[in-house]
Symmetry: C2
Subunit: 99 residues, 2 copies
């Protein structure tokens, strides 16, 4: 994960991060008390969101609400690349990890 | 401009918007009391930021701080396409236009 714009750059409200997941790889199956906004740049993935699974690909946009379980699983032949935005703080001021 | 994720979708902190500027076209030369985070998807532009001008192209990422004058001018042969993120509110709770 690479922080493209974040607190280190003076971003006051939200951070833009770039993720790469290799073929067969996946992100953690987890939830947290802040949202994601995601756009898929390259590749194909199965995204678990709550109890459902969605096949997504380059150009697709996702809003992952706070406290929803989610996971990105690369099901394509090449790297899965996406931007994932988060708020820089949550719970009344805690710094968001990776922001 | 198209709001990909915004207040209408329940976005609590920030919005993701998609802009297209035709060849020779430009966005307003203005400033406002909230930041932009931008990634260029397609094309080539001259971006005025304060008193400087930067040539940017697909893949470039910009942080435009609050209250900085800025403008995007398409200098390429094809459409300029970019994502532009803004907070959903500013000045202690005013809804951000286009969020």
């Amino acid at each position: 994960m690479e922080i493209l714009v974040g607190r280190q750059h003076g971003a006051p409200n939200f951070a833009m991060r770039h993720y790469v997941v290799e073929p067969g790889g996946h992100t953690p199956h987890h939830s947290h008390d802040y949202e994601h906004e995601v756009i898929i740049i390259d590749g194909e993935a199965d995204v678990t969101y709550g109890t459902s699974v969605h096949r997504i690909r380059a150009g697709d946009v996702l809003f992952i609400a706070p406290n929803q379980m989610h996971q990105f699983r690369n099901v394509g032949a090449g790297p899965l690349r996406f931007l994932c935005m988060v708020p820089t703080s949550f719970d009344c001021g805690k710094p968001t990890p990776g922001s």
